[in-house]
């Protein structure tokens, strides 16, 4: 029935998108009077050429894994959760409150508590739009995106007021106590004479993210709830006929989605900054949409796509550091990849489908 073989759908389309984006980016770099080959080499070298570069790439990838999974889980129920940004912000608030106000003796306990705190806050933030969708029919796209703004305003209010230490100028919380410091890759893998990942922010949360990938896979394809979510997503009326409650599915899918987005805060708030700053999410919630689209809403695809975007972020930072390519152009390069792999999916799919159809006809007649 499907026109495209599975491998073409999963591998070929994103790959062609990437190549197109790379070619366009190279043209833009050349147009701005720089050496494109040098720039690409710099990106690869900077993001993947050293353990330090990997440390940053994996750090960004961890963020995108969480937000990508969040989008994917909701999408299996055909809920388009674009509120990952706000849910991650609230997750950060949850993490900060846990780390600042609970006496946590050791990072292992702190990690568990932070997962609960981040997940809970993110879930609550997603549950409100979910309820409005399930009970009142308010469109989830509109409500989740509006909730991003509410989250930003709420965080603003708290960071300028109650949570800011007296006399500080930054709108940020105090630094978290030493006991809740999550081990970074440097702490874990470095030896005295072989320093690895020096100064890089990648931390133990990466493994939490990988575990979350497995958990989501298990949930969606190996449990009854996952089956119900997928059934509801494929056809609401059929799901209803089979006795699946739409309200329940919408609520549960969105709560899981929000909790996953919230858990991103363990990485960036607890693992990296070790305090809550105003703009801690930095667009990762929206990148999650592109990651999920590119990863075809499958945890493994999301893992790979998150790595790619991590590479783009770290490579982009390297470009900013060592070339005079303006930061706006770096953003354009990142945006091109999102555009081609996420938004322009059909532009590549349609000619490919025609090509495969033609090939198949040829094969049938011969």
């Amino acid at each position: 029935m499907d026109v495209l073989p599975r491998w073409a759908d999963i591998v070929l389309i994103p790959l062609i998108g990437l190549i197109l984006a790379a070619v366009l980016s190279a043209l833009m770099i050349i147009a701005s009077g720089q050496d494109a080959g040098e720039a690409i080499k710099l990106m690869v070298q900077g993001a993947l050429g050293s353990t330090n570069g990997w440390g940053y790439t994996l750090y960004y990838a961890t963020n995108f894994m969480f937000t990508g999974l969040a989008v994917a889980v909701a999408f299996h129920a055909r809920m388009f959760n674009i509120g990952g940004e706000g849910q991650a912000m609230l997750g950060g608030l949850g993490v900060a409150l846990c780390c600042l106000y609970l006496p946590l003796p050791h990072w292992t306990i702190a990690l568990v508590v932070a997962i609960i705190g981040a997940g809970l806050f993110g879930a609550i933030w997603a549950a409100i739009p979910a309820y409005l969708q399930a009970k009142r029919g308010s469109h989830i796209v509109i409500t989740t995106i509006m909730f991003n703004f509410i989250a930003a305003a709420l965080l603003n209010y708290l960071l300028v007021g109650a949570l800011k230490p007296a006399g500080a100028m930054d709108p940020a919380t105090a630094r978290f106590p030493e006991a809740v410091h999550l081990p970074t890759f440097q702490d874990m893998f470095s030896t005295a004479d072989n320093p690895l990942f020096r100064g890089a922010p990648a931390n133990v949360t990466f493994f939490v993210a990988v575990a979350a990938c497995f958990a989501v896979w298990f949930l969606i394809w190996r449990t009854r709830l996952g089956y119900e979510i997928r059934a509801y997503g494929e056809s609401e009326s059929a799901a209803k006929y089979a006795g699946i409650s739409p309200t329940k599915i919408i609520m549960i899918a969105m709560i899981i989605s929000g909790a996953l987005a919230g858990c991103m805060a363990i990485n960036n708030v607890m693992g990296e900054a070790e305090r809550l700053v105003l703009n801690s999410v930095e667009g990762a919630g929206f990148i999650g949409i592109a990651v999920a689209l590119m990863g075809r809403n499958h945890p493994f695809g999301i893992f790979v796509a998150a790595l790619l975007f991590g590479f783009l972020y770290q490579g982009g930072a390297e470009l900013g550091l060592w070339t005079s390519i303006p930061r706006e152009l770096v953003t354009v390069i990142q945006a091109l990849v999102i555009l081609f792999t996420g938004a322009l999916d059909n532009m590549i799919r349609m000619p490919l489908e025609k090509l495969f159809l033609a090939l198949r006809k040829k094969g049938a007649t011969a």
Binding site: Y56, N156, M169, P201, N268, A317, G320, L321, P326, V330
Partner: protein, 331 residues
């Protein structure tokens, strides 16, 4: 033997450091970007001036996100950049972490104090410059009411306001000082429309001289003041030229000088606490062809008199940030 080896390795260590003596300085701009017509641009101008005068080159980066602060610092330090200058108080917490890891690299941070042996903390006595601006404002005012518009409500900006109010009250004890802040978030640095609204509100309360310490928001303040026919006072860079004859003066904060100094000293950067005040021309008020018509002789002599007294220590301007209170103004 062991002593010998130690000596030998120490000698090689020395030789290595001597070999690596060549180093390019680096400068890191804050999220506002290097062409913000204010703080970052001033830092950039200082670095450019150094490069033009010495023929040297410097590395630079404009940050895209908060996570890059520490990254940029570490990457530059690892690449051997020395000294590394950063513009903005927001680098404080990143630098605290990084400085200890690179003891051979010198860092300079502007507007923030980081206590580490290889860090030069440059702070400005904005209250002194603002004090002079306050004197000029009170002298120029005919209504007896002068006003202040701050950007983001942080202690640093209150320091500006407090110095300004003290200066105004010193020149005219009966003066009324109105102070407003644009907002409480970084967005307040770039909201010229709100700056304009606040200016109009202050004019309706009788103010006829308005001092803006609000980054990009100040552009709106100065514009509205010019439109409504009152005087304004610019900040950081010399903004007198924006509306010739209508900007009374600008409170100069010579970030460019701070950057220039740091780059000129190079790897031998003098670390520690570096205060840029009236005495070493770190702050001041701008006088040029654009405002000479509106600045009277009496005003000038009073201002310069006060400047001398501040330098000599006869007048102490209260620094809001020293105890988070202001004798001349309630926030």
């Amino acid at each position: 033997m062991t002593v010998m080896t130690k000596l030998m390795s120490a000698a090689t260590g020395l030789a290595l450091t001597a070999g690596a003596a060549w180093a390019e300085p680096a400068i890191i701009f804050d999220l506002g970007g290097k062409f913000d017509k204010s703080f970052n641009e001033s830092a950039f101008n200082g670095a450019t001036r150094w490069a033009e005068e010495t023929g040297g080159t410097f590395r630079e980066i404009e940050l895209q996100s908060d996570a890059q602060r520490e990254q940029a610092l570490r990457r530059f330090a690892e690449a051997g950049a020395n000294p590394i200058v950063m513009a903005g108080f927001a680098f404080g917490s990143a630098l605290e972490e990084v400085a200890a890891d690179y003891p051979d690299t010198k860092f300079a941070i502007i507007d923030m104090v980081v206590d580490a042996p290889n860090v030069r903390s440059v702070v400005f006595n904005e209250h002194e410059g603002s004090y002079l601006a306050g004197i000029m404002a009170a002298e120029a005012s005919e209504t007896g009411t002068v006003s202040f518009i701050g950007g983001m409500d942080i202690p640093l900006i209150r320091k500006f306001a407090c110095g300004y109010a003290q200066g105004a009250k010193a020149a005219n004890p009966d003066v009324t000082v109105i102070a407003n802040m644009t907002g409480t978030t970084p967005a307040a640095w770039n909201d010229p429309v709100k700056g304009s609204e606040l200016t109009k509100a202050q004019i309706s309360q009788g103010s006829d001289v308005v001092y803006a310490a609000a980054g990009g928001t100040g552009v709106g303040v100065l514009q509205t003041a010019a439109d409504e026919g009152i005087l304004s006072i610019g900040v950081d860079a010399n903004q007198n030229y924006l509306h010739p004859g209508q900007v009374l003066t600008s409170m100069l904060k010579r970030v460019d000088n701070a950057v220039y100094d740091a780059l000129s000293q190079g790897e031998d950067l003098e670390t520690g606490f570096n205060v840029m005040g009236l005495a070493n021309r770190g702050v001041g008020v701008a006088l040029d062809a654009n405002n000479e018509g509106i600045v009277s002789y009496a005003m000038l002599s009073k201002t310069f008199g006060a400047a001398d007294q501040i330098v000599s220590g006869e007048i102490t301007v209260h620094d809001y940030m020293s105890d988070e209170s202001c004798p001349a103004l309630d926030f």
